[in-house]
Amino acid sequence: MKGYDAVVSNRWVRLGAFLVVLVVLAVLPLVADPFTNQTISHIAVFAVAILGLNIVMGFTGQVSLGHSFFVGIGAYAAIIPIRDWWGGPLAEGAIVIGFVLSGLIPGVLGLLIALVTVRLRGLALAMVTIALPTIGLPLAQKFSDFTGGNEGISIRRLDYVGADGQVHKGNPFAAGPGLENDQWQYYIVIAIALAFFALAYFLVRGKYGRAFAIVRSNEAIASSMGVSPYRYKVLAFTIAAVYGGIAGFLLIVWGQFTSSETLAFHHSIDLVIASIVGGAGSIVGAVLGGVFYVTVSQIMNGLQLSIYTTLVQGVVIILILFLLPGGLASLPRTIRRLVRRGAAGHSVEAGHAADSASGNTKTQVQPSEERNT
């Protein structure tokens, strides 16, 4: 056990493992079939969205039930400039503009909403976040000339003028030299997703992560330590909105389509479920959440049992909350703890057997009764 821990915690080993993962990710699309590439890209799109949700829910403990709003807005911000400008003089610049706007617009909206609402606690914030898609969807439908309404916008076959002076139809995300569409899209999605995961990793490891954790566990203590809960909650909410928006951009790279449906409230619920199943308080959890989100549907389709998908999702989430409150990401930790407990063999005194069952998704905050005895 010790030896294993030592190896795992060794810096160089970690770096090496990371490099191996990178190399595999880089080479895989060249080897794998298109469906595998598309599936991995799809997972990455939602891993980024879920990561945003984890930052606001898992790291600062604010309930957000409106994340699909930011994903949907990000998707519009990405696709509309490309639709309008890609075939024109701006050319690929439209994609860059789309990328920037997909982070910027949801970020600004998120910031404005956060400034007025994060003071609210619990249900109140959840309600405000429910209001976002509830308001956003009819607005998107109302302005269907601009947003494409429920028919949506597709940019897979946009007109452009080729070298021969003729108008062709082309996919803005298929311009790769010698690569198939699925490979090219894979590289864009994975590169951006990795960048945003790295950003999140350094964010939560650094002073911001510590501040988030303090705010989450006890706001009064945070204030007394000079950490403004308000500021950090606004920050987390805004970052989450940006991540949602970027996921919207990646959705466009992956599928080249969006419609007002993307904003719908129940997709927020899907994201929350995926976040909890993966592990809301963890970065790896976001990836696992993305895997859950994408592959459960796929597997159920594959088995021709998709009418049971909703039921399966419901059962999975209840089971996870019961048995693995930290989500799938906490599975290794839980196993290690069980192994260690078994090895130690000391009888567990009655009284805290209940603790492990109390369903706490977070780092265990000491119950209040432990403080003053």
Partner: protein, 304 residues
Amino acid sequence: MNPFGTFIQLLVDGLAQGSIYGALALAIVLVNQATGLVNFAQGGMAVLGSYIGLTIGNLLIPGVGSTLGVVLGIVAAVIASLALGGVVERFVMRRFERAEEDTKVVATIGLLTLITGLVGLIWGFNPTPYPFFFGGSESLRIGDVSISVWSIVTFTTIVALMVVLQILFRGTKFGLGMRAVADNAPSAALAGIRVGGLRMAGWGLAAALGTVAAILLASKSQLTPNNFDGILVYALAAVVIGGLDSPIGAVVAALGITILESLAAAYIPWIGHDLKVVVPFVLVFVVLIIRPQGLFGRRAVVRV
């Protein structure tokens, strides 16, 4: 119909539809009072309860005639919901008693997903007429305004339930115990209050209440597994606007937003029916910012 008649008709219709939102809002308040959390599965449980009533009613009607069959179906649905609510509290939500707010919210969302999946599989997705004493078309006319029997019955039932709940909360030992549990469960236990039992009772009552609302709605517009998806969102808005701890507030807010929404749609052209759904949710924003405990709430801080 003259313009004034239209106005009155919109008010009357708003009261009836708002009653359905209000009933679900009441159920949410009840659960919040019993266990201090917000149950997103409330609508799903209501639909499940009414399907049970439908099944039992339809089974019985050939034997005992339609009147008795409908009554027994409703009674069975209410009893089943009471049990369902209690069981869910005892065996699912009890586990999350000490968990944090977001975990509790997610647990109820998981329940909602589970129940929705189950109902669709068992009863299918075909809209099914609910056997009842009357449908949505019988009505009385008062001048220009028509008031459907359904509206009158729904409104009266919900207002009566609200009054009963208000009395229960403010005037009975049971209500006192429930409020003590919601306020500070460990402390209530030290006073000899059976916390677990009261919580189960609260969930059971809330589920039964939701089922009554679902049956009333189904009698008008048939039963489908997704009947309450949209209604839940309105009920939550009503609860936030009215206050989480106020049965009267929840119902008044539900009626208020429904009427406000219809009137805004009819008389403010740039809102219209396309954007009327925006009205209650903008109101949620405004109320939360000005008065976070809700218009009728007593708490200094809104808590889940």
